[in-house]
């Protein structure tokens, strides 16, 4: 109970729980869309999803400043590539929050004459760019880890052992590909934070891809990916060692 209280006291903790609920509702609505006897349940889920979405927009009102502060911090990182990726990601995140705030003001009626569709597309574009930057950072970190691992003698012994013990696999699959995959999987296994972050960003990527029409999936896929990324986010918040640094 104490851990639950500490978790929900963090603004991010509550937001992730609400996000998980929102996407769980979206997934459930998609799965139940064809059953006629559950129409009132579907209506309730739609109402819950709308409430969560509207509520989350209100909480996010101050997050632009958070992102700008994060961008200022990442500009000072020692690793140039890392600093560039993260600063670009944070700036795009800040722009996304500005668009989101404008959409919130439109939805409550404070601002009337803005084009909701255009601002919504802009918000999705900024979110997409920030996710691409985060994925670039993930790929860069994974490449660094793999390069580090290749230099490690102990690992090279392990790889040779792996390659020699499955001769029939080596014949079927190209040996370099097999070695590369083995290296990749070993690097990810030794650094679960990076693996989780990559998985989270890939799941998140489907949401703006669908919204912008680049890769049209359906509402079920979007709901499932959103739910997965929210659950991973909750996991990284409860176990801080699983959170990627910086």
């Amino acid at each position: 109970m104490d851990a639950f209280v500490k978790f929900t006291n963090q603004s991010q903790g509550r937001d992730r729980i609400f996000r998980a609920t929102q996407y769980a509702c979206a997934l459930s609505i998609y799965l139940l869309r064809n059953t006629s006897e559950r129409k009132d349940l579907v209506a309730k889920l739609k109402s819950l999803e709308a409430t969560m979405s509207a509520g989350r927009k209100l909480f996010r009102l101050g997050n632009t400043i958070n992102s700008i502060e994060a961008a200022k911090r990442t500009m000072r990182l020692s690793d140039r590539v890392l600093g560039l990726c993260l600063t670009a990601a944070n700036i795009n995140r800040a722009l996304y929050f500005i668009c989101d705030n404008a959409l919130w003001a439109r939805s409550v009626g404070l601002i009337r004459d803005i084009d909701k569709e255009r601002w919504s597309l802009n918000a999705s574009r900024c979110y997409f760019l920030s996710l691409v930057m985060h994925l670039t950072r993930d790929v860069y970190v994974v490449i660094q880890l793999m390069a580090q691992k290749v230099r490690d003698k102990h690992f090279r012994q392990k790889m040779d052992q792996h390659l020699s013990e499955n001769p029939e696999v080596v014949e079927v699959v190209v040996p370099q590909l097999d070695a590369f995959l083995f290296l990749l999987l070993e690097s990810l296994k030794s650094h679960p934070a990076v693996a989780l972050d990559t998985l989270k960003n890939i799941c998140d990527l489907f949401i703006p891809l669908d919204r912008l029409g680049i890769y049209q999936s359906n509402a079920g896929v979007v709901g499932f990916c959103g739910l997965m990324s929210s659950l991973i986010g909750i996991l990284t918040l409860t176990q801080p060692e699983l959170r990627i640094k910086p």
């Binding site: 109970m1 929900t8 603004s11 209506a43």
Partner: protein, 263 residues
């Protein structure tokens, strides 16, 4: 900027800011209605207020657990009056949050047939009990501080002959004079005593800003359930002003944690 990030990271802080904005909308709606502004603007403000109220209910979804944890902690206090007041106050708050969660479920359509009026009244009743207990605790702490301050003053300066000699002199003179005189003579005595007490009270409160803030906050807050339950209806404007004032005071205690009344 950095302090804003730290402030924002606390869930409670955001909820307080939204509460301040909600009651500011209530106050604004009242002044607009009085000033005869456009119905469109008034509708926007009341819609915004309803949206903020519903979102705050969403934010408060986990607070029953928090209040129960606080009640569990309060049971271990050494002072029996404080222990009683705080434990029952936290339990009432937990019940208030539970009723609030049910209201949220009703408003979002999760529970279809909910008597919103009944549950709303129930939640305000629990809130009122919690506030009364908080005020009792404030008055108790104030009394303790006043007593200790008086004892300190009495020990610091030896009892001066001036007030004690004038009193018997007055009573001696009053006993010889007509029966109507005692009423007129005790009045300045009473007002001197009252002004001395008020001065002492003011000094104690000035030296203990957490107690002063908590007392002011609870006094402002109590008008909200009193109005909503119909016990002491004051009107939208006054409720909005009280709500806004208490929200600003609680934001102050979050920004400066030393201003929070312990325990």
């Amino acid at each position: 900027m950095d302090s804003w990030v730290r402030f924002n990271a606390q869930s409670q802080a955001k909820e307080r800011v939204i509460r301040a904005a909600q009651y500011a909308c209530t106050l604004l709606g009242y002044t607009l209605k009085k000033g005869g502004a456009a119905a469109e603007l008034h509708k926007t403000i009341s819609q915004l207020e309803a949206h903020m109220s519903l979102t705050r209910k969403l934010l408060r979804l986990g607070n029953s657990v928090e209040a129960l944890e606080a009640a569990k902690r309060a049971i271990h206090l050494s002072d029996s009056v404080l222990r009683l007041c705080l434990t029952i106050s936290h339990l009432n708050k937990a019940m208030y949050f539970a009723c609030d969660n049910v209201l949220w479920a009703g408003k979002t359509g999760l529970i279809s047939k909910l008597d919103q009026q009944k549950w709303s009244q129930r939640s305000f009743r629990y809130y009122l009990f919690a506030l009364i207990l908080n005020l009792t605790r404030d008055v108790y702490e104030l009394r303790l501080l006043l007593e200790s301050e008086e004892r300190y003053r009495a020990s610091k300066s030896p009892p001066s002959p001036y007030p004690s000699t004038t009193l018997p002199a007055d009573s001696l003179s009053s006993s010889s004079s007509s029966p109507a005189a005692p009423a007129t003579i005790t009045l300045p005595v009473m007002s001197a005593w009252l002004s001395r007490r008020l001065h002492l009270l003011g000094m104690v409160l000035y030296n203990n800003p957490p107690l002063l803030l908590d007392l002011l906050k609870n006094s402002c807050d109590i008008f909200i359930p009193l109005d909503r339950l119909g016990i002491y209806p004051t009107g939208q404007g006054f409720v909005g002003a009280c709500g806004l004032a208490s929200s600003i005071l609680s934001i102050l205690t979050i920004i400066n944690p030393w201003l929070k009344l312990k325990p």
